[in-house]
């Protein structure tokens, strides 16, 4: 007993040290890595971690499976972009407005949808997100409709007259993303170790029991949704600024909502690092498919001839297949590792340890 306690304490120290080392390395990375492509992948991973982790607070810790998180993502993206494009308000003010807007709609949506449970809640969350998507498509005067909003430059960030950054390269986005990731991980850690977090988890495990113990379901579910929506909106704003283009079919789509859930499911829901693992698995995979790295490497390695039908098929079509792989991954994960990749390997390790003992 004592030994295991000491052991776990030793592990924590090692973990903290490891964490510090990783963070320092991440902060130094742009100094050593010249490749913009590598930075691009890292930024996408950061955005995905923020998306997944914010869903995790609602879905993983509170057990409310929202499949409509694109509403908050799109809210952040659209508010920031619209304020910048049509009102000339710099994005670092705009993203606060986006967070506020997401919080407000989250509380409205929450007060309506949290009266429903289980599958009904899932359906309602989808319906709400679809209402946002169709509205953004139709309110052409406000949102540019299906054309979307395209920005060419972001005004430089200045504090007291000195230019901090002009957003000309990928590096400022990298650091912004990294800071957001550290913030959401801190937020998740705080949630997990606070009274609020215990309330959330009690609701997840058995909401009737939680209710009978005096936990106000409406307040705490809305609190979880609020926190979740604010960070999702932040991810949306960062995405919009980074990519420079948004339209309803990218930032408000059902596909986006599903992929947000997917990041958590793949990594393991209700754990701090689940979404991190999920993003680390999903982003490189979908980028490799999108840029057709897999098809090209198969061809260049000589396994498949470029002129053959299969080679032709790979170069032409495989770049469209990243969503197919998402689908296959979901099916495989749900059927064979319902606790996600992290949970699967933990269980595997535990089994090994048991066998060894």
């Amino acid at each position: 007993m004592n030994a295991s306690l000491d052991n776990s304490r030793g592990n924590t120290t090692v973990n903290v040290l490891l964490g510090v080392v990783v963070i320092v390395m991440l902060f130094l990375l742009p100094k050593f890595v010249e490749s913009t492509y590598a930075l691009h992948i890292m930024i996408l991973i950061f955005i995905n971690i923020v998306m997944g982790s914010s869903w995790n607070i609602l879905g993983g810790y509170t057990g409310q499976y929202s499949v409509g998180h694109s509403a908050y993502f799109g809210m952040g993206a659209y508010t920031t972009m619209m304020l910048m494009q049509f009102r000339q308000i710099p994005p670092w003010y705009g993203l606060w407005a986006g967070m506020l807007a997401a919080l407000v709609i989250a509380l409205i949506i929450g007060s309506i949808c949290f009266r429903l449970r289980g599958p009904y809640f899932v359906l309602a969350s989808i319906a709400v997100a679809e209402i946002f998507r169709v509205s953004a498509l139709n309110l052409k005067d406000v949102t540019n409709g299906a054309e979307g909003i395209l920005i060419t430059e972001i005004p430089p960030l200045t504090i007291g007259g000195t230019v901090i950054t002009d957003f000309a390269s990928k590096v400022p986005f990298y650091y912004t993303g990294l800071v957001f990731v550290l913030l959401i991980i801190l937020a998740t850690w705080l949630v997990q170790h606070s009274k609020l977090g215990y309330f959330f988890q009690a609701i997840r495990e058995d909401q009737d029991a939680a209710h009978s113990l005096g936990i106000n379901l409406t307040i705490y579910k809305n609190a979880a949704l609020g926190i979740s929506a604010i960070f999702t909106s932040l991810a949306g704003s960062l995405y919009a600024l980074y990519v420079g283009f948004i339209d309803p079919s990218t930032v408000l789509s059902l596909e986006l909502s599903v992929s947000i859930v997917l990041i958590c499911i793949i990594g393991g829901i209700g754990t701090i690092f689940g979404p991190v693992i999920g993003a680390l698995v999903l982003v490189p995979l979908s980028e490799a498919l999108r840029s057709n790295l897999i098809g090209e490497s198969l061809i260049s390695s000589g396994l498949v001839k470029a002129e053959s039908t299969l080679g032709h098929f790979l170069t032409e079509n495989l770049s469209h297949a990243h969503v197919l792989i998402y689908g296959v991954l979901v099916v495989v994960v749900i059927l064979f590792m319902p606790d996600g990749v992290l949970g699967f390997f933990k269980a595997l390790a535990a089994k090994k340890r048991k066998e060894a003992a």
């Binding site: 499976y65 499949v67 309506i112 009266r115 429903l116 289980g118 599958p119 009904y120 899932v122 359906l123 309602a124 989808i126 319906a127 709400v128 679809e130 209402i131 169709v134 509205s135 498509l137 139709n138 059902l254 599903v258 859930v261 499911i265 079509n317 469209h320 297949a321 969503v323 197919l324 998402y326 689908g327 296959v328 991954l329 979901v330 099916v331 749900i334 059927l335 319902p338």
Partner: protein
């Protein structure tokens, strides 16, 4: 007045097909308590099947349902046996995610195979219309409504009169009790999913002469199917029939009076209202 009657009638006609989609979803939910998020994708597969039967073999879309129904039944039974069956005891969230994943696989596999181009199945009668009492109605809609009505009637007969139908209804009422009565619930589940899939596929075949055919067409119909089943009461077949027609009419009138871009919003707002004020649906039991 004329616009109103016209929208009402075409709403009812298209509602018949919606009812078919809804009934499929509601049977699956009733028997297994699983919400099938891949329902629209099954419909999409039905559409593609019909399209290729028509372009390759020149089989009329309304005749091809004779092939679509059994094939889609087998496909549904296969999905049930190898995928859905494994998560019957799992968390509802996991069931939902599994079917979402299956839907993604189907729509994207179709996209890989046939590209994401919009396909149009144009028959000689696609754009023709019949005129009844001065109101002109698209004739493919009329034919599909008649077929829908026939299929729905046959389905009611099957579920009410045959042994298998009664066993399915018993399973839907109480899975454990049905099992104790010696009903093979696993088999009933397979039949139920097969039925659901073949109804969705048939609906796809019936709308293919009047709709664009593309791999992502399913998601709209999945959402519509949810609205219909929730509206009618999850698991209620009569409810789904009524719900389908109601949604058809709501969409058609919304499109005529508010604008076609907003008609989906009308449907979703209606959906949220029903979820909030009568979550058991029009025909559902209050404690369901």
């Amino acid at each position: 007045m004329n616009i109103f009657v016209q929208s009402l009638i075409s709403g009812i006609l298209i509602g018949g097909v919606y009812a078919l989609i809804g009934i499929g979803l509601t049977i699956i939910f009733g028997v297994m308590r699983v919400i099938n998020f891949a329902h629209g994708d099954l419909l999409m597969i039905g559409m593609y099947g019909t399209y290729y039967l028509f372009t390759l073999f020149n089989i009329d879309p309304f005749v091809s349902i004779v092939i679509t129904i059994p094939l889609m039944f087998l496909y549904g039974a296969f999905l049930q046996k190898f995928f859905i069956n494994r998560v019957l005891g799992a968390l509802p969230q996991n069931q939902i995610l599994l079917t979402i994943g299956m839907g993604l696989v189907m729509s994207n596999a179709v996209m890989l195979a046939f590209t994401s181009d919009y396909k149009i199945l144009s028959t000689t009668y696609s754009s023709s219309s019949v005129s009844i009492l001065g109101i002109s109605i698209s004739s493919p809609l009329v034919i599909s409504f008649i077929i829908t009505a026939a299929i729905t009637a046959a389905l009611y007969w099957f579920l009410m009169k045959t042994n298998t139908g009664q066993a399915i209804r018993a399973t839907a009422q109480d899975r454990e009790a049905a099992q104790l009565m010696g009903i093979n619930v696993k088999r009933m589940s397979i039949i139920a999913f097969g039925l659901g899939a073949s109804l969705a596929g048939t609906a796809g075949a019936l709308i293919s002469p009047t709709y664009y055919i593309f791999p992502q067409v399913g998601s709209t119909f999945t959402l519509k199917a949810f609205v219909i089943t929730v509206l009618g009461g999850m698991g209620s077949i009569v409810g789904a029939t009524l719900g389908g027609i109601l949604i058809g009419v709501a969409e058609s009138l919304g499109g005529a009076y508010i604008g076609s871009g907003w008609k989906e919003v009308v449907v979703f707002v209606l959906f949220l209202l029903v979820l909030l004020f009568k979550p058991s649906g029009l025909m559902g039991k209050s404690n369901a």
